[in-house]
Amino acid sequence: MEMNDVRTINAPRERVWVALNDPAVLKQCIIGCDSLERQEDGSLDAAMSVRVGPVAAKFKGKVRLEDVVAPNGYTLLFEGNGGAAGFAKGRAEVTLAEDGAQTKLSYSASSQIGGKLAQVGSRLVDAAAKKIADDFFAKFAELVGAPAVPAEGGGGAGGGGVPAKAPSGGPWIWYVVGAVVVVVLLYAFMKR
């Protein structure tokens, strides 16, 4: 599955960044997120419960970064394991840029799903992914400030801004994107 998008968040980058560093905010934006914990090795452990209709499952996810080129971009690797429900893993290349008073976030994610997730969910992932991503950013925008709007010509943006140095506290935004992808896959599966 491939997922590309550009999101313009209607808030200054500093404010976005602060919010993205607040686990409490992130937990609220990822529906079903039970915990988000940073590990000593810098990776992030996520635990999520998803309930759709009569079906409930717990997923464990892990997200870590590679090729960090502050502050322009990162490659993010993620894995989610739902036991008998199957697994998801993949990578996302993410960039974050200032756009006047707004912040432009671009991501390009590819993932593999396996086990029952692939057997019953593969057809639904694309549509479900979009919905989950929309839900995430809608909630995020609600918490951070003015409504979020999708940028024109998804996928082509990024790299053109003038990024400032990364604030302290770590690039939470990348974790969020990874976690969103994991949730998306999960959701796609559970929807079945």
Partner: protein, 782 residues
């Protein structure tokens, strides 16, 4: 003709119980102290099994036992055998990597079984199976047929290039000469799409060990219980064969997928002694998708050389066949012996060469599926013949007429000898039934409505009635292919017939009873057919390859004839005449030329109450066995004509008419034959229009594991079929029958694809020809 004899449309005796919900399938059988099994299956296509932690699962409610591959390997149990040895072109044997009944070090496809959980209820077994934690080391997967031999990863260390064998058949040099000197060479690259069998009844087994007799009983949804027992006892578990009874009761469809010895039932038998209780397993539908042996899956190039008159001078076929992760029971012979030998089709092509590369991939094993090799061969032949006609500017019927074999027996260049047939007769009858002459007008009328009409032919042949054992043995078979039958006449003249054939939808209980009733001159209700139980039936090779009537039926006929011969001796004694003066007709033994007679039932009673009986020279009783080994294959053949209408705006194909004229030799029950033809056509049309098994080429994940993604044909996908027959009786069995079970699935896909390519004017379209593919093909043409 008797109302219930040979040739009559007798309604099926078995349908009373099937239609009233009284069938007895494996899952219907629940034994005392029953336990239930669930298998832990790999979610990865290719992975090392680093560790299996069963502690949490073992502590769950109701769990009786958990076994892993290592537990089984520790008892010295070997892997599942392959029943057919194929040698490489250089004479070296094929690669036969071990096929453990539970994976030991590596899982090699999604669904590969790595552990079994046995519990008090099926729910408890499944819940505990989910709690088994397997630490996998994920490896790159090989999932694409065409590129498997070049993949970096190896499914088996013993076959680093993933090649199981490279096999050649025919005269390569003669074919190369024909191609070099041809007026025209037509070439086609085609794929025979991978299919998932989808029997209505999923695979199921129930294994019980009896301590008092140190013996096992296995109920299993299977097409050949004796073969199942032989393979399991002699080649895997090492249990004495006489200590195992295998029962295949009512079976709800097989289509080949239940021929094979599978890991699951073998594990159950092994475990039943260890837990001391019967263990039942029934696949859920997704397990069936994942773990039933799949069918087809070839990537092929075919070339046909012709002279200036469109006469075929040579054909070359190069194909790659996917055998999946392990060699299933007959995996090796399907793309070779059952494929290359059929490449002559109905045509007098003088030189044919075929090269088959079989590859291992991280996918479910691939084996026989309705037609088994013959649909793949027919697809190659009938697609290239139609393409050759177009390349030559010839009518598709005319190019066939010019190339048909007309003299019999005919020895093909690929090793078969057709005993009889009349290909012109079938073609002409089909042309008439399909109103081929009226097609141009119908096409023009459709065009006026903005629709695209096309018509396609397929003149298939198949070799069935498997098989002369000596021929099969010379070709690498590790088993005989005869059949056995027993006719037990009871004292009252009622008859129970035991057959080694197995019915899983074919209607044997009716057809065989018609044959016996007709031959003995007794009512059909006086005859019962028993099958599917090694504890009752003397022996059997089972049902596949459209062999039941031609081989199993002949064994029964031979046993009936022995009964009649013995009956004549008893009658001669009763009538005080010489044995040679007794004739038997319409259920009565008679002294020829007189009115002195004794009915069959009286002879039977005398045999069991031998007061007035030639005890000095004849044993009492009236019970005869026969084994029959055929002297040749049988060669059903026919012509299918498909007419389609396509909506160019949506790409939707409608089959407006499908005509099938088949030569099955003599027909015992036309209604049952038509049912078999209809079912076969539905399956072939399913392959051509709807069904396609898709593995993700990168990850090896099965993406079509539910009916949401795997489209089975439904009634509204199919037209009313126009079927006809032409009879040339088989020359080498007493019934003159050939077999009809697979013909529909063999003949129909190329007819349909030829019709679609004709309608839209393209050289090829991939199966299944979904509306999207057809629409794209139309766009690419525009």
């Amino acid at each position: 003709m008797k109302a219930d004899g040979i040739g009559a449309r007798v309604t099926r005796k078995e349908d009373q119980r099937f239609l009233t919900g009284n069938g007895q399938y494996t899952d219907d059988i629940t034994l005392s102290h029953q336990t239930y099994a669930a298998f832990v299956r790999s979610p990865h296509a290719h992975a090392t099994i680093n560790d299996i932690d069963t502690r949490a699962a073992a502590a769950m409610p109701g769990v009786v036992a958990i076994f892993t591959g290592k537990d089984i390997a520790a008892t010295g149990i070997g892997g599942l055998p392959c029943g057919w040895l194929i040698n490489n072109k250089d004479g070296t044997p094929m690669k036969e990597p071990p096929h453990h009944i539970l994976a030991v070090d590596k899982a090699r496809y999604v669904g590969d079984q790595v552990a079994v959980v046995i519990a008090e209820t099926i729910e408890q077994a499944r819940a505990a199976a989910e709690a088994v934690e397997v630490d996998y080391g994920v490896l790159p997967a090989v999932a694409d047929t065409a590129t498997a031999s070049k993949a970096k990863a190896s499914v088996h260390d013993a076959a680093a290039d993933n090649v199981c064998y490279v096999w050649g058949h025919g005269d390569a040099a003669a074919v190369d000469r024909a191609i070099a000197s041809a007026h025209k060479v037509s070439t086609l690259d085609i794929v025979n799409n991978r299919l998932i069998p989808n029997a209505i009844e999923p695979r199921a087994a129930n294994a019980a060990y009896d301590k008092s007799s140190d013996s096992y009983t296995l109920y299993v949804s299977n097409q050949n219980p004796h073969v199942e027992r032989l393979l399991m006892c002699a080649f895997v578990l090492g249990i004495p064969e006489h200590k195992v009874r295998v029962v295949a009761p009512d079976v709800g469809g097989g289509f080949g997928s239940k021929i094979f010895l599978y890991a699951e039932e073998t594990v159950l038998v092994w475990a039943s002694k260890r837990v001391g209780r019967p263990i039942k397993w029934t696949a859920d539908r997704m397990e069936s998708f994942l773990s039933d042996a799949h069918g087809r899956d070839h990537v092929t190039r075919v070339q046909m050389a012709m002279d200036g008159n469109g006469k075929f001078t040579g054909m070359k076929v190069t194909t790659t066949a996917n055998v999946g992760a392990y060699l299933s029971t007959f995996a090796s012979c399907v793309p070779t012996i059952l494929y290359a030998t059929l490449l002559a089709g109905q045509y007098a092509t003088p030189a044919i060469y075929c090269e088959v590369t079989a590859v291992f991939t991280n996918t479910s094993p691939v084996d026989a599926y309705r037609g088994a090799g013959r649909p793949e061969a027919t697809y190659v032949v009938e697609r290239i013949v139609e393409t050759a006609a177009r390349d030559m500017g010839l009518d598709p019927a005319e190019i066939r007429r010019r190339n048909f074999i007309t003299t019999f027996p005919y020895a093909t260049p690929v090793g078969l000898t057709y005993d009889i047939g009349d290909y012109h007769a079938c073609l002409e009858k089909a042309v008439k039934l399909a109103d081929y002459a009226g097609f141009p007008a119908r096409q023009a009328e459709a065009k006026a409505r903005g629709k695209l009409r096309g018509i396609g032919f397929s003149s298939y042949i198949e070799a069935c009635g498997l098989a002369p054992s000596n021929v099969a043995g010379a070709l690498g078979a590790r088993a005989g292919l005869f059949e056995a039958g027993e006719v037990r006449v009871h004292p009252t003249g009622k008859v129970t017939v035991f057959t080694g054939s197995h019915s899983h939808g074919q209607g044997h209980e009716t057809t065989f009873a018609q044959v016996v009733a007709d031959r003995l001159g007794i009512p059909i209700d006086d005859v019962d057919i028993q099958h599917g139980d090694t504890g009752k039936v003397l022996f059997g090779m089972g049902t596949y390859g459209s062999r039941s009537l031609a081989v199993g039926g002949t064994a029964i006929v031979k046993a009936v004839d022995k009964v009649i011969a013995k009956g004549k001796k008893i009658a001669a004694h009763l009538l005080e005449a010489a044995d040679t003066d007794i004739e038997f007709k319409d259920g009565v033994f008679r002294v020829a030329g007189t009115d002195k007679n004794v009915p069959f039932a009286s002879v039977a009673l005398t045999a069991y109450v031998p007061h007035n009986y030639p005890l000095d020279k004849l044993e009492p009783g009236l019970n005869e066995n026969a084994f029959y080994d055929p002297t040749n294959f049988t060669y059903p053949a026919g012509t299918h004509i498909c007419e389609v209408e396509i909506d160019p705006d949506t790409g939707k194909t409608e089959i407006v008419k499908f005509t099938a004229v088949d030569d099955f030799g003599n027909i015992i029950n036309p209604m049952i034959v038509e049912g078999q033809v209809h079912g076969g056509l539905a399956q072939g049309i399913g392959q051509a229009l709807l069904e396609g098994c898709v593995y993700d080429k990168e990850s090896g994940q099965l993406l079509t594991a539910t009916y949401m993604d795997y489209a089975m044909p439904r009634a509204d996908d199919l037209p009313n079929f126009t079927v006809g027959t032409h009879v040339t009786p088989c020359t080498h069995n007493p019934l003159g029958v050939k077999g009809c079970g697979e013909a529909g699935a063999i003949g129909s896909p190329p007819a349909l694809i030829n019709a679609i390519t004709h309608a839209i004017g393209v050289r090829d379209i991939a199966m299944p020809a979904t509306p999207e593919r057809v629409w794209r093909a139309i766009q690419s043409r525009a």
